[in-house]
């Protein structure tokens, strides 16, 4: 089965001021599947993730060279509408960050911004997003309650529902379960298994077992370079490079 390339990253360098945080990254990320980015702290995996929807543009003095194609479009081309890009490439962060609004409004927010006015259609879209984020059954009777009253795990799934509401093509997840307890983490992992059937997911995680469980492809970063990428099962049982082996077996870090 041939897989469609969603992202094609070519010779990507990224700088925070003078500091080169990413060097010569070349990588393809396939459509509909989960790609995990692993590596020790400071290796550049989160920086790379944020390059995929240009979240790093918000950091003063940062700059990038190289190309990242989303489909056939270079997302660093001068004429790119970054707001539109971030609609196509949604993001979920480490700490759940719901708006201080109702559960319904959290999910409806992006839809309203995108011009949804019909109440019935809006309600339907909110329900679908909450169902897709495996949260609907837990909140359907209290959609008008504050999102801040939800547990941490529920808040994170609400953030996923919020990201899904605008029908993105890609979902970036930056350690989405690291602030959650084991049961909430399990729910997020189960959700990733569901979502990857329909979306392209790129996940940064410090938890190697989590990367092994949820992803199809794993990429190992070290000191700003992409060291090895491959099928998750192969990378965790028979990595090609000693540096990868030493990291995943805990011989350095």
């Amino acid at each position: 089965m041939t897989q469609t390339v969603k992202f094609a990253v070519k010779d990507l360098d990224f700088y925070y001021g003078d500091f080169k945080a990413l060097e010569g990254i070349c990588m393809e990320i396939h459509e509909r599947g989960a790609t995990a980015l692993i590596g020790p702290s400071g290796c550049g995996k989160s920086t790379f993730l944020r390059c995929l929807n240009r979240m790093n543009d918000l950091i003063p003095s940062s700059h990038v060279s190289g190309e990242i194609f989303l489909g056939d479009q270079n997302i660093y081309a001068p004429d790119i509408d970054v707001v539109h890009l971030r609609r196509r490439v949604g993001m979920v962060f480490q700490k759940p960050n719901p708006f201080p609004k109702t559960i319904f409004e959290n999910v409806a927010y992006g839809l309203r911004v995108n011009g949804y006015r019909n109440k019935a259609a809006l309600r339907e879209a909110v329900e679908k997003s909450l169902v897709d984020a495996a949260l609907w059954d837990e909140v359907k009777d209290r959609l008008n309650a504050s999102a801040l009253g939800l547990s941490g795990g529920q808040q994170q799934r609400l953030c996923i529902a919020r990201a899904l509401a605008v029908r993105p093509e890609v979902l970036l997840m930056d350690e989405p379960a690291s602030a959650l307890d084991p049961i909430a983490t399990q729910k997020i992992e189960d959700l990733i298994h569901e979502l990857k059937q329909h979306y392209t997911i790129v996940i940064v995680t410090h938890n190697m077992q989590q990367a092994a469980r949820v992803s199809d492809i794993t990429a190992f970063f070290y000191m700003g370079r992409l060291i090895e990428t491959g099928e998750t099962e192969t990378l965790f049982t028979r990595p090609q490079l000693k540096q990868t082996e030493d990291y995943i077996t805990g011989r350095f870090g």
């Binding site: 020790p40 077992q209 965790f236 805990g250």
Partner: protein, 227 residues
């Protein structure tokens, strides 16, 4: 994120495998010696010593399961633990075969020796060599040496066939008296069983070599020789 404690425990697990290998090797050497020198006292020590090897197997199982459950090992470490569990199972079965040889030897020692079977000495030689090389390949994590062991199994099979053929021919030749013929058959059958035990030990040594290649390189070479 160095996992020093885990690697210390993994080293301890490997040391337990070396201990088991040393015990199994002693059993094999003594079983062969007891058969060749018709030493029933030595044969009895193998039967008495089997319990210790069984205990080591249980200890390896316990340590391995603990590391799998608590440490969630990856890559070479994961292959090492899975490989060790398989190797210890094979070594325990080798020790059982040695007990079987010892029991037959005790029977043979109670009766006059059979006609010499030269292929038996060759079978003992190749079997001991295969186990010795397999254990060394594990100690050195030497996949190259491990890969050479399965080919020796054909030689062991050939010697086993020669033993079988020689002893069946001997049984077919006429001996004076019914009781003498029965005794000859009983001794020859016991010797054939010993040759089968040695042939199984050669097979199990091949298994160990295959596990070593899997641990070292992550490639399963099982059954390749037979395809």
């Amino acid at each position: 994120m160095e996992r020093q404690n885990f690697h210390k425990e993994l080293d301890h697990l490997k040391m337990t495998v070396y201990k088991m290998a040393a015990s199994a090797r002693k059993s094999l050497d003594n079983a062969c010696k007891a058969y060749q020198e018709r030493d029933d006292d030595l044969a009895q020590t193998i039967i008495d010593g089997d319990r210790e090897i069984n205990q080591i197997e249980l200890d390896i199982d316990r340590q391995s399961l603990r590391l799998l459950a608590l440490e969630q090992p990856m890559a070479r470490d994961l292959r090492m633990i899975v490989g060790i569990m398989r190797i210890s199972n094979d070594m325990e079965r080798i020790a059982d075969q040695c007990v079987n040889i010892a029991e037959r030897t005790i029977f043979l020692c109670q009766h006059p020796p059979i006609e010499p079977v030269p292929a038996m000495d060759s079978l003992i030689g190749i079997t001991r060599k295969m186990f010795f090389l397999a254990v060394n390949a594990f100690r050195d994590m030497d996949a190259q040496s491990a890969r050479e062991i399965p080919a020796m199994d054909d030689e062991a099979d050939e010697y086993t066939m020669q033993v079988l053929k020689g002893l069946i021919e001997d049984m077919a030749s006429s001996s004076p008296g019914f009781e003498k013929r029965v005794l000859k058959m009983r001794r020859n059958i016991q010797t054939i069983i010993i040759s089968r035990c040695l042939e199984r030990i050669a097979d199990l040594s091949t298994n160990i070599a295959e596990h070593v290649a899997f641990i070292a390189e992550g490639i399963n070479i099982k059954h390749q020789n037979k395809q």
